[in-house]
Each structure stands twice: as structure tokens, then as C-alpha cells.
């Protein structure tokens, strides 16, 4: 009886810690990169100092920090008011465990990308668009120019126009936003491909070999549209096929190969 109770208590403790971990991790992810992150860091330093003063027996400083913490609750609410509002709004807008786009929103993104690549192909303009999935493309985003704009066919066309300073390199999109342009992608080292294809194709393959991103590209020379995933190209013959391939890869990522 005692053993069962102990196992149950342990499982309960582990479960509680796991849930707390998940909550704190989501909060830190949400706050990372915002100005609040630095404020939180400041608060963390104060908390560490508080415990240090107690251990070292520094009573005066300990008393001072105790008084500061006593009134800090209101201060925290005031400082983090915009983030609290944004966080609650986001919590209300989406499913609790899913931070991705709704299916209709993702289809809209696929439509915009498809429209853009077909227009670029028609105008003999090359492009390289990487669509981030589960694996973050942070390293590649940092190699480019930050944009953070809602994805649209017109914006993609503007970026890849030859007179645009952003047209070299690739675009990275996350959800329904273009995160960065002019990003550098790694080139494939696959000996079956490397000698016979251009740099743009090698970049598309290289990125998909190293991440789970999906890359849509247009060849400037042949006007051909290709989709790369997991180190290989998926044939695309027309607009409907492209939308179908993107839908299969982006809405059902676990199923892998598009038919």
C-alpha cells in the first residue's frame, strides 16, 4: 500500500513539474526577442541577488529587496501590460497546444506563393522561397535581411525583382509572414547533383537536406518551377499541382512525400 502511494506521489510530482516546465518554456519563447525579455532578465538578477544576500547574511540589502518585491507585483503588471494583452489575445485565438496557422490561413499562404512564383516565372525572374516547418531556420535568417511582413504575391515579386537589393539569396517564411530575405542557404554536397545543376538548385537541395523546410524555386534560365523537400525535387507541372504539393507538405508534414 505504501509502495503504491509512493509511486503515485512520484508520478504526480513528475507530471506537475512537466506541466510547469511546458508553461514556463512557452512563456519564455513568447517573450524571447521582445523588450520584455531584458526586463525579465533584470528581474531574474534581482531575485538571484535576493537569495545571495540571505545566504551571505547581508541584512540591510536583504531588507531593501524585500520591500521592493512587496510592491513589485503592481510594477510587473504595468511593465508587461502590452505583452499580457497580446498573450491573452493569442491564447484566445488559437488552440491551446497548436501555435500554427489554421488550414484556411495556410491555404491562403500557398495561394500567395503559387501566384508569386508563376508571375516570376512568366517574367523570367528567378526566386528561392524557403517555408519553415518544425525546425527553426534561425541561423539562415540571421544571414539575411529581416523583413517581418505578411506574405503576399506582390511583396515576393518586389523582393525578387532584379532591381531590388534583396533579390539575391533566398526568402524565408514562417507561418503567414516573410521573416527575412537575401538569406544564404547551404549548398548541397550530393555528388549526384552538384555538377549538373545551378547554384539556386543546389541551395534549395542543401537547405532541405539540413532542415525540414520546404523550398519553392523558379529557375531564371528555364522558367521552371520546382519544389524541394528532404534533399530531393518534387515534380510540378502546373499551378494546381503546386498548390496540391504545398498543401500536402505544409498541412500534413508527418506524411512526408507528396503523391
Amino acid at each position: 500500500m505504501n509502495v503504491t502511494f509512493d509511486i503515485y506521489t512520484t508520478i504526480k510530482a513528475v507530471l506537475e513539474i512537466l506541466i510547469l516546465w511546458l508553461v514556463f518554456y512557452r512563456i519564455l519563447l513568447f517573450v524571447e526577442g521582445t523588450r520584455s525579455f531584458h526586463v525579465l532578465k533584470g528581474i531574474a538578477y534581482l531575485i538571484i541577488a535576493f537569495f545571495l544576500f540571505q545566504v551571505l547574511g547581508l541584512d540591510t540589502l536583504n531588507w531593501l529587496l524585500t520591500k521592493i518585491f512587496a510592491i513589485s507585483v503592481i510594477g510587473v503588471l504595468v511593465i508587461f501590460q502590452p505583452e499580457l494583452r497580446q498573450g491573452l489575445a493569442r491564447l484566445g485565438q488559437q488552440h491551446l497546444f497548436n501555435v500554427g496557422l489554421e488550414e484556411s490561413e495556410m491555404m491562403a499562404v500557398c495561394e500567395e506563393i503559387t501566384t508569386a512564383v508563376y508571375r516570376l516565372s512568366k517574367n523570367r525572374l528567378g526566386c528561392l522561397i524557403a517555408i519553415e516547418r518544425e525546425l527553426k531556420l534561425k541561423t539562415y535568417i540571421e544571414s539575411g535581411i529581416a523583413i517581418d511582413a505578411k506574405i503576399s504575391a506582390e511583396l515576393l515579386q518586389s523582393i525578387f525583382h532584379t532591381s531590388s537589393p534583396l533579390h539575391d539569396g533566398g526568402v524565408i517564411s514562417r507561418g503567414d509572414r516573410i521573416v527575412a530575405a537575401s538569406c544564404l542557404f547551404p549548398l548541397t554536397e550530393n555528388p549526384n547533383f552538384s555538377k549538373i545543376i545551378g547554384t539556386r538548385h543546389r541551395a534549395a537541395l542543401g537547405l532541405t537536406e539540413q532542415t525540414d523546410a520546404v523550398v519553392v524555386m523558379v529557375s531564371e534560365e528555364t522558367q521552371e518551377i520546382s519544389v524541394a523537400e528532404d534533399g530531393r525535387f518534387i515534380p510540378v507541372v502546373n499551378r494546381e499541382r503546386l498548390i496540391s504539393v504545398l498543401r500536402d507538405l505544409l498541412l500534413k508534414p508527418k506524411k512526408g512525400t507528396a503523391a
Partner: protein
């Protein structure tokens, strides 16, 4: 496999901080050890 491997290294610092916070919070709420070591502001 790429995704599984990357999960462990992506945002590793945030995951560690979150785990430490979770354990600390749980200990504070459930265990008398922390309360006997430190005096917390009311």
C-alpha cells in the same frame, strides 16, 4: 530524425531555464526544504 535531434538542441538555454524554474516553483509550493533555507517576502 532531423526534427527529433534538433528538438534537443533548439532553444536549449530556454529549456534549461524553464526546467530550473519549474523545479524551483514545485519545490517552493510542495517542499519545506526551500522554506527552511530562505525567508520569502510576503
Amino acid at each position: 530524425m532531423k526534427v527529433t535531434k534538433a528538438w534537443f538542441t533548439q532553444n536549449l538555454a530556454l529549456k534549461v531555464i524553464a526546467l530550473v524554474l519549474a523545479i524551483f516553483t514545485w519545490l517552493y509550493l510542495n517542499d519545506e526544504i526551500l522554506k527552511s533555507l530562505f525567508t520569502f517576502p510576503k
